[in-house]
């Protein structure tokens, strides 16, 4: 013999009612659950308010008749207002706390078919919280026919069965979501994984703007795109992914690129332009290097975020676009706010959810999984599988994870390193000598004296070329290049570089001076123009 089965249930002040013999033709939940051929209730704890004692007696007699096995206990439960959530909850809570549950000898079922909806919700909550250490029993009337008054029942275990499956499903979804955000790379860095887990939750729960901070090459664009894929997969967006690097948007074109213009809005506006914000309607707009955005554009953007409306250039009517904004930055925007370069209200609007992407140097344990990922990517792009032999691999990893490896360009450096090694591999195998050469190349690129963080000289000149240049010139070149990459044209850069001396000259060709200077190092302006910060 198993444990005793005990049902706890409220009397149904509507459903259980009936005095005449017709009551037997009707489904009365409290009586009916005692009538099943495959369910024997050993004890029934009926919860009854004072006003319904007469009804409880009829129900009690009828249960005695259909179920002589059942011991019926009537418990008084004050319920002056069965729709008062607080009072009902308190009454049931007190009952549960006082009830001498004996889980070793008895199994409990809470009948949630009777009682007001408020009472049913309270019973559910108290069962879910294990104040009632019970399963739920839900009964329902049967189809028409001989047994219709008995109906059917089902028992629901909130700890097990499909509820557990739902919980598992949720966990599974989360793992999938995180895997997607990590691009399928089994990252090991704790801080990074925690950041991704947070981002996954935010991405699915919120439409608010997200700010991704991190150095160039840390993978902001890729992450923004995966965030879009995740939201799209869960049908939270159905518009497109639109991205732009704000550093490329300076000057007159910026406004119209972002917000669009009407035909004839300005000289040269021969055709109307939709603008990126409108293109991102119902989708996700990724504005990388948002710190590079001009103040006018910032003002427009703020309004577009807050009101989902903005005025295209030359238009007299506002347009609507509902997009989610993800912004990226490698600058300290707080400092930019202090110096007046960035609007404080815009920052406040976009940094509700700020996620900082660590550079690769801070995630050394993730270098190995990313190395595999890059090799896979190369194989997918080139159609040939490239592998590293064991010694080559451990040599590369040893260097890559050592403090010596600066990884200034972060994932972009790793991407470049793998591409170079894979290209130089023989018969699809990356050997120790290829690895050694690459290590030397990386060492050179990150060598001290290469100037600022970006290492522009290393970016544009090979180590061999650099060896022929004096340190004196290297230091100067680094600064010159730093200015060049910030300027849109050679003239622009020339003007800034030769600002002082050009005042005293009758005529000057700053662009020419710059071209000649660059030529000394074998560089041309168009080489520099291919570089975009943060891309």
């Amino acid at each position: 013999m198993g444990k005793k089965l005990v049902v706890i249930g409220l009397i149904g002040t509507t459903l259980d009612v009936g005095k005449t013999r017709q009551r037997w033709d009707r489904w009365r939940p409290s009586v009916s659950i005692c009538q099943h051929e495959d369910l024997v209730i050993d004890r029934f704890e009926l919860l009854v308010d004072e006003r319904y004692m007469a009804l409880a007696r009829t129900v009690s007699e009828d249960i005695g008749s259909v179920s002589p096995e059942t011991e019926l206990r009537i418990n008084r439960l004050e319920q002056p207002d069965p729709w008062d959530f607080e009072k009902v909850f308190a009454a049931l809570y007190d009952f549960a706390r006082a009830y001498p549950f004996d889980l070793e000898k008895e199994d409990y079922l809470v009948h949630i078919t009777t009682g007001s909806h408020v009472a049913q919700i309270c019973l559910f909550l108290l069962t879910e919280s294990r104040h009632f250490p019970a399963r739920l029993i839900q009964s329902s009337p049967g189809a028409q026919g001989r047994r219709s008054s008995v109906g059917t029942y089902s028992i629901v275990d909130l700890d097990l069965s499909r509820y557990d499956m739902i919980a598992t499903r949720f966990r599974e979804d989360r793992r999938e979501g995180e895997a997607l955000l990590k691009g399928g790379i089994a990252t090991r860095n704790k801080a990074f994984n925690a950041m991704i887990a947070d981002l996954e939750r935010v991405a699915l729960a919120s439409k608010a703007p997200v700010l991704l901070e991190g150095p160039t090459g840390a993978g902001k664009t890729r992450l923004a795109h995966r965030l879009y894929e995740l939201r799209k997969g869960r049908r939270l967006v159905d518009g497109p992914f639109v991205q732009v690097n704000c550093a490329t948007l300076r000057g007159e074109g910026a406004m119209s690129t972002l917000f669009g213009h009407r035909r004839g809005a300005f000289t040269g506006a021969l055709e109307a332009r939709k603008g990126l914000l409108l293109a991102a309607h119902r989708g996700l707009l990724f504005l990388d290097e948002i710190g590079e955005l001009g103040l006018d554009e910032q003002a427009m953007l703020l309004r577009a975020i807050e009101e989902k409306r903005f005025l295209p250039l030359g238009a007299d009517q506002e347009v609507t676009s509902d997009f989610q904004l993800v912004a990226g930055t490698n600058r300290d925007l707080t400092r930019d706010v202090r110096s007046g370069r960035f609007r404080e209200d815009l920052l406040a609007r976009i940094n509700l959810w700020t996620f900082r992407l660590p550079g690769l140097a801070e995630r050394r344990e993730d270098i190995e999984p990313n190395l595999d990922h890059e090799l896979d990517r190369f194989a997918a792009e080139q159609g040939t599988r490239v592998t590293m032999n064991r010694e080559a691999r451990s040599r590369f990893i040893r260097f890559a994870t050592s403090p010596e490896a600066a990884w200034n360009g972060n994932f972009r450096d790793l991407y470049a390193a793998v591409t170079r090694m894979a290209t130089l591999s023989t018969n699809g195998r990356i050997t120790e000598s290829v690895v050694d050469a690459e290590i030397a190349r990386l060492r050179g690129a990150w060598a001290p004296g290469d100037g600022a963080e970006g290492g522009f000289v290393a970016r544009f000149l090979s180590p061999a070329d650099r060896e022929r240049i004096d340190l004196f010139d290297l230091l100067q070149l680094e600064q010159v290049l730093a200015v060049c990459v910030e300027c849109r044209s050679m003239s622009d850069a020339g003007r800034r570089l030769f600002q002082a001396s050009r005042q005293t000259k009758a005529s000057s060709n700053d662009a020419d001076r710059l071209r000649k200077y660059l030529a000394r190092f074998g560089l041309e302006w168009k080489d520099l123009a291919t570089y975009q910060p943060g891309s």
């Binding site: 099943h36 051929e37 369910l39 259909v66 096995e69 047994r147």
Partner: protein
């Protein structure tokens, strides 16, 4: 230990009840597997459990698998103890099936017993009380079983709550049952029992039976019950003959007309009346075990039901007897005799 496949033949609760009765009668431990395996709700249901519990109680048996839904039951009976018992069946299940399970073991004791049964007394798919009282027990009495059953309260589905008191005296040596003929019909009666229902229903049922059987319309009466719980309706056709009384019972149901209920019972009665045999199909089932225990006896009946064939096969596994079934025109002749081993052992 005797292993019984609960799914063989008719495959229902009868296999379990017959096995329990014979296990107690013979002191044979049994293991019944695949109990009601092919049924919609397989395994032990409430009414089956009630029979197992009653058997455990009167015989002090050790039982394993005595749970709802259990498909295997092990039952080790002890000596049957006569006395006062009270058994209740839930969900308005038939109390008569409990009686059927325990009656023979108690009757074979040397002291009397008194059993109070509660639950359904007039159930479809079970011997209803009028059949037990008017048909079965008198024949049992002829075989030496002195049983007196009193209906205190009717119990119908779904409300149940019926009550039957049964006084069981120790069995005396009775006669061997020879039921080849029914003899002349002495009386016939149609009774519509109505519990908390309109009398008009009963009158329509009775009329339907008259019409179908071509009987004169003076043999019907309506029995109205006001004290019973819940509604209920049974239609009883009783035919008293020289050698036995046969009872056929129909049950009123929701959405089935009174006329349909009447016609259905009339069909059953007519099949028996036309055949000329004494023993109807339901009665045949009830006579097999006492006859087998006696080791001899015979009767003529209608073509055998699956129920009856299953019962015969089961009884032959417990007792050293053999049933000989022979076609006798459209009817069948069933005879029981000891097997050769039993005969030689004696």
């Amino acid at each position: 230990m005797l292993c019984i496949d609960g799914s063989f033949g008719e495959g229902g609760g009868q296999i379990l009840r017959t096995s329990l009765t014979l296990s107690m009668m013979t002191g044979t431990p049994i293991r019944v597997t695949k109990i009601r395996a092919g049924r919609g709700k397989p395994g032990l249901l409430r009414q089956h459990l009630a029979c197992v519990r009653a058997a455990v109680e009167i015989s002090g048996a050790k039982a394993h698998g005595m749970d709802l839904g259990s498909m295997t039951l092990e039952f080790h009976p002890g000596p049957v103890v006569p006395g006062d018992y009270q058994f209740a069946v839930g969900s308005a299940g038939s109390a008569m099936l409990v009686l059927q399970t325990i009656l023979l073991p108690l009757a074979h004791c040397t002291e009397p017993s008194r059993v109070m049964l509660e639950g359904g007394t007039h159930n479809p798919a079970a011997p209803p009380f009028p059949f037990v009282h008017d048909t079965w027990l008198p024949l049992m009495g002829r075989m030496g079983y002195r049983v007196d059953a009193t209906l205190h309260r009717h119990g119908f589905y779904p409300a149940g709550g019926g009550q039957v008191e049964v006084a069981i005296q120790p069995k005396t040596s009775g006669q061997t049952l020879h039921l080849r003929e029914r003899g002349a019909i002495r009386s016939r009666e149609v009774v519509a029992i109505l519990s908390n229902l309109h009398a008009g229903i009963g009158l329509r049922e009775i009329k339907a039976v008259y019409t179908a059987l071509g009987w004169p319309s003076d043999s019907g009466r309506v029995e109205e019950l006001r004290s019973g719980r819940g509604p209920g309706n049974a239609l009883v056709v009783r035919v008293e003959c020289d050698h036995l009384t046969e009872v056929f019972t129909g049950f009123g149901e929701h959405r089935i007309s009174a006329e349909a209920v009447g016609e259905q019972v009339a069909d059953e009665a007519r099949a028996w009346l036309d055949s000329g045999v004494p023993v109807g199909s339901h009665l045949a089932d009830q006579l097999l075990i006492p006859m087998a225990l006696a080791g001899s006896g015979e009767f003529r009946t209608l073509p055998l039901t699956e129920h009856t064939r299953t019962n015969i096969a089961l009884i032959e596994r417990f007792l050293p007897v053999r049933f000989i079934v022979e076609a006798d025109g459209p009817a069948f002749h069933i005879r029981v005799e000891p097997t050769n081993e039993a005969a030689s052992a004696n």
